[in-house]
Symmetry: C2
């Protein structure tokens, strides 16, 4: 596979023009970490600026236009990205806080254990540990949790909630959302999916899958910026039975009556807590609209082609150098990033950033993650990423890099 062949794939890419919709001020840099922090859409600065102007000129009089933004942006996300219905999604608070709200609500409705996998994202595991009664099961570190793993972990227990990541943050394994949901339901448990690494990269189809609950972040494949607010989903039929553990005034019926007793609204809005982040929601609107415009099926098709290329190039260039594929080989079992493993992964990542114009990321203990968000990643970027990694390893240049002490991101 030559670089020219990768260039040919880019010429045939029907989504190629979307790269122009993002700020790319250094075309020589290969950014392979959009799975951690997505790129800045060109439109975002202007949209933020307009909202800031609105604050400056309309002041508090703009609140009637802002107050429903968490639900309006949620509806756009539901329709364009998540396969959900209007009134099932809202955007506010962080993924961690939303995990806490929904897992607490599930536990209140159905007491019992929370089942998750030991390889789930840290904040998910920590939130569940804080709630108590967690059953953590081991999975294959590459293939991630299977329906059989979940059935085995449930094992006749009283289970309140099964919660997993749709795409595993380390290996990129794509869980079988529909089958695992069915296994959990057979055991009488609710299911809470963390879509942080799949929303915007993989079709989700929350409604069709029967999923009960979901959360996810908007700063990865939805490109809404560092610390952008998270979304949560509650299946319409469940909304009346569940309640948030955080009783806040933005969930209150007739909010500005400021009445004596908490009396939440009937719909998804009951899972709001405090005042939503109005400026940030402008960035989420832009990010969601770009994914919706490209279309999640087209994005997935390109994403599979990108990761297939990465796996093929891994086999050609990296495997002979002693690296191992840390992601599933079957494209239908993978999200939009590919991990490669090496005992000195941390130092190779530092060297890539400092010397090779390549930004991957490191995930302990031995993974180099290469994220290829289909909205703006070119096939030639995949080719260059693998080639730059290969050269760092085959020349031993990565050994010259000071590993330092800080391991932020």
């Amino acid at each position: 596979m030559t670089r020219a062949e990768a260039e040919a794939l880019d010429r045939d890419d029907p989504l190629a023009a979307f790269r122009e919709r993002f700020v790319v001020d250094d075309d020589a840099l290969i950014y392979a970490d959009g799975n951690s922090l997505g790129r800045l859409p060109r439109e975002t600065a202007a949209r933020l600026h307009r909202r800031v102007d609105e604050w400056g000129s309309r002041l508090v009089r703009a609140w009637p236009d802002w107050i429903d933004l968490p639900l309006e942006v949620g509806d756009a996300l539901a329709a364009g990205v998540l396969g959900a219905r209007p009134g099932e999604v809202l955007v506010s608070d962080s993924t961690t806080v939303n995990l806490f709200k929904l897992a607490s609500a599930a536990r209140e409705l159905r007491p019992g254990a929370i089942v998750t996998d030991a390889g789930n994202f840290p904040t998910d595991r920590y939130v569940f540990q804080g709630l108590g009664g967690v059953v953590q099961f081991e999975t294959d570190p590459i293939d991630g949790p299977t329906p059989e793993d979940v059935a085995h972990a449930i094992d006749g227990r009283d289970v309140s909630l099964v919660s997993l990541s749709h795409v595993a943050y380390r290996s990129g394994a794509l869980a079988d959302l529909r089958a695992i949901t069915a296994v959990a339901h057979e055991a009488g448990a609710l299911v809470l999916w963390d879509l942080s690494h799949s929303a915007g990269a993989v079709p989700v189809e929350l409604d069709a899958s029967g999923a009960d609950l979901a959360v996810g972040c908007t700063y990865k494949y939805l490109n809404a910026g560092p610390g952008a607010p998270s979304f949560l989903y509650v299946r319409g039929e469940l909304q009346s039975a569940l309640r948030s553990p955080i009783w806040g005034w933005f969930g209150q019926r007739d909010q500005f009556a400021m009445g004596p007793a908490y009396d939440p609204v009937a719909g998804i809005g009951k899972f709001l807590a405090g005042t939503p982040p109005v400026l940030d929601l402008a960035a989420v609107e832009v990010g969601v609209s770009l994914v919706a415009e490209a279309g999640i099926l087209a994005l997935r098709e390109k994403s599979v082609a990108l990761t297939e290329l990465a796996v093929r190039l891994h086999d050609e260039r990296l495997a002979p150098l002693g690296l191992e594929l840390g992601s599933p080989r079957e494209p239908e079992r993978r999200g939009a990033h590919v991990s490669v493993r090496h005992l000195d992964a941390w130092r190779i990542c530092r060297a890539a950033i400092e010397r090779a114009g390549l930004v991957p990321d490191f995930r302990a203990p031995d993974s180099i993650r290469l994220g290829f968000p289909p909205l703006y990643t070119r096939f030639v970027d995949v080719w260059d990423a693998v080639e730059r990694l290969a050269r760092l390893v085959e020349t031993g240049e990565y050994l010259e890099v000071d590993p330092g002490t800080s391991r932020v991101t």
Copy 2:
């Protein structure tokens, strides 16, 4: 009191120049609702733009510079506004979520009732109701909670936490933070202050007062924009004994080791949950630095003069028209807003906004709040605000306004 006399006060105002630091694109508009949503500082758009640019160009490589922002902005707020020490304040999440974290933490450490006043801000009351075991006591609707009220409400009970607003949202009553804290401590309870209506307007002196815990919002007198993140304070000596109910990865020691078990950091950072809102924190930085630059004592001095003028003008112009002062008369018992009461307050507020170029706000059932943030409010604004209200009432013009059905803000 003539308008010319108010103009003379502005000429002598040592803080007058700070008004130029804010966007004021309609000088004829009297904005008397900065106690709900503060004005836009001129510097904010540029600072946000710089941070957005940083996202666009540095991408994930900027995270090492962003990751401590909640604590760095917290330290600036501690030193410049709250009378607290470094490492006692952080900025992230909403006021509601922060109330939930700290009240839950207090309950875990000291089981017992949560004592609050029935006139406290709704989200505070709702959060406490959600935690259960609330004792709500009545207070004078104008003077707010006194130390005697709190002692009476405690009444030999096992009390975990006393939580009040430092400045009452409706009447503007300023509670005696030090004396009430002492009463609560005598009963073995912790104290959680909501500083939403005092931070940036009134000296707080958290450390000197002996207060244990505090939260507050940054979009009122700190001018950080709609839905800007909230702050929380935990006295240094208490940090090791308390823990957040929301176990999130941003509170985790050696966060990027992504270890199996939650193991929070020792300091204030343990009260972080999810990824902090990096863009928003730029706006908080600007807002905090303006208050710190003006100086909280100078701001308070001007604020007292502004509200004294408002009370005097109320007596001259509004009382004869049947309105009543809804705030304490003694300046040392008031925050930075003044409420006036009228049975048709809602319609008068609508008429003020739609016909008189005056933006007050309405608080159910009968209060018209006039907020006078000292950073940008002129004495002549106070004069004009009262005069415009008086004319609406004396002409009966407010009766021509459709009260509508929506009561947002």
